[in-house]
Amino acid sequence: MKSVMITFDQAFYERIIETLDRMNCRGFTYWQQVQGRGSKTGEPHYGSHAWPSMCSAIMTVVDDAKVDPLLEVLHAMDQETEMLGLRAFVWNVEKTI
């Protein structure tokens, strides 16, 4: 089991949910409004006057086998619309109940 943390511009929300559905990743946790900025070029998403856009974050815990296909799809999505910004990070899940 791995947990995948996806942070993205709000506009991606529907597409990401669709992707998760398609990949049979049922469980997820969604934070509607989070702030952040990219390490290199990513525009800040602060919801402020200067940087009005906002990010969202989704954490989904999936089987190890699903991680790579999911990341591939997300990467493709990010490449298509670079300006918006989408990142995913994978952790090991040590224990669940």
């Binding site: 506009a11 529907e14 006057h49 200067a50 940087w51 009005p52 918006l84």
Partner: protein, 1068 residues
């Protein structure tokens, strides 16, 4: 879920909500009455008191003065004017506009109750009479007749007046110029004397004989029958055989002493149409009725009515107010459509996408149509003000939608899905959209609070703009994002044709961006030069101020002229007719096709003709009513025509007073400008002299077309001075004697002759040829109680006297008004010329001259609008300060306001338009419009600064990025106004100054705002940064000082040291 998210996710609901609003709006549109101006509540109350037998000065002292003193205490009173003439006192109370006239009327009534006991016993109770605009006739019909002339009144009454009065909303229909039927019993004074019969006895006998008397019921057998005695005459000639008395035992029949003429009233007004005698039918509406609808209904009915009339009677239309109203409204509607077209073109050019253009343009009709709902709820009408308001709004309603659409497009181009882009894109700009609407509301809401005459006009405009702006904002935040999510797509390919056509536009727009960026770059590096030259331009424009004249309301050409002429009193009506016919022929020849109708009336109006008896009338007074074809169909302007007519009239020295009234009525809006001077002073002779001198000198001024003095000349009249002692000797009193005279000359109404359900007066009096000389009066026989006859000349004398003129007063002082009608010069010039003359005149002690009339109104509204402008500036500042959370930025943006005014001044100066209330209105609206540009610029500069750019870079970057939105919103407003400014339609002269002012002000202010505001920002921000640095440096130095001297200064340190000591000691 936010508003826009809901709207985007539920497109059907959103669409249908707006469809519902549109349907309601269109429904309201069909129900709205059409009129020229908004309903102006009356602000005048007249108090009429009669006191028989009192002369003008008696009336002034005993009735008018006490009443004036009491009524002066009524609240909201602006002016109190009065006319005291023989037998009557008429006090006119003028109140401030915008107060409830019902409440005021009650106040007036209470005050009258208080005073009525103080009035002379013989004076009647004062009557309150309310003025209203409903008294102005909406349609005047002309009637030409040949053979049927003698029976014209009955024909018209039955076949025209009655059917017309049944039309919904018609108030009164009065017929004038057609004398009514009357049965005249002409008595021969000599025969009367011989038989010892009096007029009174005859009329009493006629009254007794001409009666139907019910006799109750009586029973015969099983039946009950009513009993009646029918004595009413079936034919006037039956009266001949009445026995009116006995002489020497023989009966005296009426035929022995009188002849009976079944004719018409002796003294009646005559009406001529196109030089042919006939009649006039005047139609007034009920309060609150729709005048255009009524006029249309009346005209629709005319052909049917014409069919029922004898062939020689022809109906026509002299005055139809609805034509002008409809023409004006139509040309304004055309203006609005052009404005919409221009705005659509601008939006398309700047956006370059038809889908985006469509989305924005849907907002326009939606907001405009929704405002009709407000109009219907608020009892408004489609009028010049409400439609101008639509025209003004067109440019502004698209602004919000443009801002939203632009941001959504940016999101889509960044790769968002249209739906998400619509939600988030709207979310980001929602606050600034609401803020910019609030600035507009800050401008228009105070308009609803203006008082006075201008307040009546602007109240509706203010509310409508607030409603339209609110609707357009709601639509921009819900409907526009919804449409964006449905219609906008990421454009992946553009068609070749489009590219070919649009490429040059895009290229030139890009070039413009570059040019502006370079200019701005230069400007921010030469701040002092830029600011100095802007200030110089502002001062230079102020210099043009002196070249601009001012007027109250623009003069409008409604195609109507009224001419009132006065011959010396006592002139026979035939002579007046002759002159009138001559003038008619002359004008018919000169204006030919241009003239629609010419009509005049002359003579004494009958008592039951309400409309005409209220206006001045008499055998020596001639009233012309002339209407011309709409201004678009003729070459000569109405003003030119009026000047020509005045020149014609100047050739008749026998006319004592001539008054050519452009527009058909004095006062009100759109008439010819008139400079009024009020001469206050008690002494008649002195004020008369001053008035005449002022008149002569004013007539010499170029541009003064005619001068009228309000006070009329002394009237010649015959009076009978009875000797009371002699009357008493004969057992007579003055009233009896006077009644005898009146019955013989004016006649006694004996009874009524009834025929076909109509009643006609039976009048008994002397033969006409027996009452044409002073001797006839002297020979009138008065009968004493015991039947003895005595002649008037034995108990009194007949003398010719001059009765004093009407005594006019204003604000409790005697006054004469001198009105100068201006043609070709503005009101301010006329007043200035008058003041120059007055300065040179030597006024006697106790006499002073004041400028009044529309100049006073103008000054008052200018003051009101000035206060309003200050109020608006403060409100706008507050809204901006709240938005930016700063006091500096709104201040910088406010720099664009003075240039709006210099733009207006320049535009008015170059086009030679006088400054009127309409151009001032334009100026006030500009306060809101021009700061919008500043807001857009400053907002983006701040954004760039927050993103970390330096001052100059932030300014140039945002300048380049915001140039197009600023140009787009400005151009939509300017082009929306162009049809107004260059309009040639009917009534265009009213709103042209508004268009000119807005275009001029907005152009100059936008060009300068684009340079000056960024430059001013640089200066302020530069200073701000320098100040901050200084402050930081100081703080740093202070801190360094503090750090190095910490030991000596703080007690914490000292206590710390103690603790250290303590620790040390512990350790040790």
């Amino acid at each position: 879920m936010s508003l826009y998210e809901g709207a985007v996710k539920k497109p059907i609901m959103t669409t249908l909500c707006f469809v519902a609003v549109m349907i309601l709006g269109l429904f309201s549109l069909t129900k709205l009455p059409v009129d020229l101006y908004p309903d102006i509540d009356t602000n005048m109350i007249m108090v009429v008191t009669t006191y028989s037998g009192a002369s003008a000065s008696d009336i002034e002292n005993n009735v008018t003065r006490p009443l004036e003193n009491t009524l002066n205490a009524v609240e909201h009173l602006k002016h109190i004017t009065s006319e005291s003439r023989e037998n009557t006192s008429v006090i006119t109370l003028e109140f401030e506009y915008g107060n409830d006239i019902e409440v005021i009327t009650n106040d007036v009534r209470d005050k009258l109750d208080m005073i009525s006991s103080m009035l002379p016993d013989e004076a009647n109770t004062p009557i309150i009479f309310k003025f209203s605009s409903d008294m102005i006739p909406i349609v005047i019909l002309s009637v030409q007749a040949e053979e049927s002339r003698s029976a014209l009144y009955k024909i018209l009454d039955d076949n025209v007046a009655n059917p017309l009065a049944r039309i919904d909303g018609v108030g009164t229909v009065s017929i004038s110029g057609a004398p009514e039927r009357e049965i005249n019993v002409y008595m021969d004074p000599n025969k009367m004397e011989a038989y010892g019969i009096t007029v009174e006895a005859v009329s009493q006998v006629i009254a007794q004989e001409n009666k139907n008397v019910p006799g109750g019921s009586f029973d015969i057998g099983n039946n009950t029958y009513p009993l009646r005695v029918e004595g009413e005459f079936a034919d006037p000639q039956q009266m001949k055989n009445i026995i009116v008395g006995t002489h020497n035992g023989a009966p005296v029949y009426l035929r022995d002493v009188a002849r009976i003429v079944d004719g018409v009233q002796e003294r009646a007004q005559k009406a001529y149409n196109e030089g042919v005698q006939g009649a006039m039918i005047v139609i007034q509406k009920q309060t609150g009725a729709n005048s255009v609808q009524i006029a249309q209904d009346v005209k629709k009915m005319l052909p049917t009515l014409q069919k029922q009339l004898p062939t020689d009677v022809k109906l026509g239309v002299i005055v139809d107010t609805s034509d002008n109203i409809l023409d004006t409204i139509n040309s304004l509607t055309e203006t609005i459509l052009y404005a919409i077209l221009f705005v659509v073109i601008v939006v398309f050019v700047f956006l370059g996408r038809w889908r985006a253009t469509l989305i924005i343009c849907i907002t326009i009709p939606m907001s405009l149509i929704a405002s009709f709902i407000y109009l219907l709820i608020a009892d408004g009408s489609l009028n010049m003000i409400s439609l101008s308001c639509l025209s003004i709004a067109i440019g502004s309603v698209v602004d919000d939608a443009i801002v939203v659409l632009e941001n959504v497009t940016t999101h889509i181009e960044r790769g968002s899905d249209p739906k998400q882009a619509a939600i988030h894109g709207t979310n980001e700009v929602a606050i600034s959209v609401v803020a910019s609407t609030l600035t507009m509301i800050a401008v228009f809401f105070p308009l609803t609070m203006v008082t006075g005459m201008s307040g009546v006009l602007f109240e509706q405009l203010g509310w409508m703009m607030c409603v339209i702006m609110t609707i357009s904002t709601i639509s921009a935040l819900t409907f526009t994002p919804m449409l964006c999510s449905q219609m906008l797509r990421l454009q992946k390919k553009q068609s070749k044709v489009f590219l070919y056509l649009y490429a040059p536009v895009r290229k030139s727009l890009d070039k413009l961006d570059d040019l502006y960026a370079r200019l701005l770059d230069w400007g921010v590096r030469h701040r002092k030069t830029v600011i100095a030259s802007c200030a110089a331009l502002f001062l230079a424009s102020l210099g043009c101020c002196s070249g601009i004249n001012s007027e109250f309301f623009p003069t409008s050409d409604n195609g109507r002229v009224a001419v009132n002429l006065e011959l010396p009193i006592g002139t026979r009506v035939e002579f007046a007719e002759k002159i009138s016919l001559e003038l008619t022929r002359k004008w018919q020849e000169r204006y030919g096709e241009d003239m629609d109708a010419i009509n005049f009336k002359v003579g004494q109006a009958s008592d039951d003709d309400t409309f005409n008896s209220l206006s001045d009338n008499g055998p020596h007074i001639i009233n012309f009513n002339i209407s011309f074809v709409p201004s678009t169909d003729r070459e000569k302007g109405l003003q030119e025509i009026c000047d020509e007519m005045r020149a014609d009239l100047a050739q008749y020295p026998e006319l004592v007073k001539t008054d050519v009234i452009m527009g058909g009525q004095h006062g009100g809006m759109g008439g010819q400008a008139m400079a009024s001077f009020e001469i206050y002073g008690y002494d008649f002779n002195q004020t008369d002299k001053v008035a005449k001198e002022l008149k002569t000198k004013l007539e010499e001024v170029k541009g003064v077309a005619q001068v009228n003095i309000s006070r009329s000349d002394y009237q010649p009249e015959y009076q009978v001075d009875f000797d009371r002692e002699k009357l008493a000797l004969h057992g007579l009193n003055l009233t009896t004697a006077a009644t005898y005279l009146r019955n013989r000359i004016n006649g006694a109404t004996a009874s009524y002759y009834r025929e076909d359900g109509d009643e006609y007066d039976i009048k008994v009096r002397y033969e006409p040829d027996q009452r044409t000389s002073v001797e006839a009066l002297e020979n009138v026989v008065l009968y004493t109680a015991n039947g003895k006859g005595v002649r008037v000349k034995d108990v009194g004398t007949v003398v010719e006297r001059f009765s004093p003129p009407t005594i006019e007063r204003k604000d409790r002082e005697r006054i004469v008004t001198v009105d100068a009608v201006l043609s070709g010069i503005a009101l301010s010039q006329g007043v200035a010329a008058g003041n120059a003359i007055i300065d040179k005149m030597e006024l006697p002690q106790g006499i002073f001259i004041k400028v009044a009339g529309s100049y006073e109104d103008q000054q008052e509204s200018n003051r009101d609008l000035g206060t309003l402008a200050v109020l608006i500036v403060i409100l706008v500042f507050i809204v901006m300060a709240a938005q930016f959370e700063s006091l500096t930025y709104p201040f910088i943006i406010m720099f664009s306001i003075p240039f709006a005014f210099s733009g207006i001044i320049l535009a008015l100066f170059l086009t030679g338009t006088p400054l009127s209330i309409m151009s001032l209105l334009g100026g006030i609206m500009l306060i809101g419009i021009v700061v919008k540009n500043g807001i857009v610029l400053i907002d983006y500069i701040l954004l760039c600064r927050e993103r970390g750019m330096g001052i100059i870079r932030a300014v140039t970057t945002s300048g380049r990025s915001r140039l197009r939105p600023v140009l787009m919103t400005t151009l939509t407003t300017i082009l929306g106004m162009v049809p107004m400014a260059v309009g040639q339609g009917v009534g265009a002269e009213m709103w042209r100054p508004l268009g000119v002012a807005v275009i001029g002000g907005l152009t100059v202010s936008t060009v300068l705002t684009l340079i000056l505001v960024p430059v001013a920002y640089c200066s302020f921000a530069g200073n701000g940064v320098a100040f901050k640095r200084k402050k930081m440096k100081k703080a740093r130095e202070l801190n360094a000082y503090y750090q190095s001297h910490k030991d000596k200064m703080t007690r914490v340190k000292a206590s710390g040291r103690i603790r250290h000591h303590h620790d040390d000691s512990q350790e040790s």
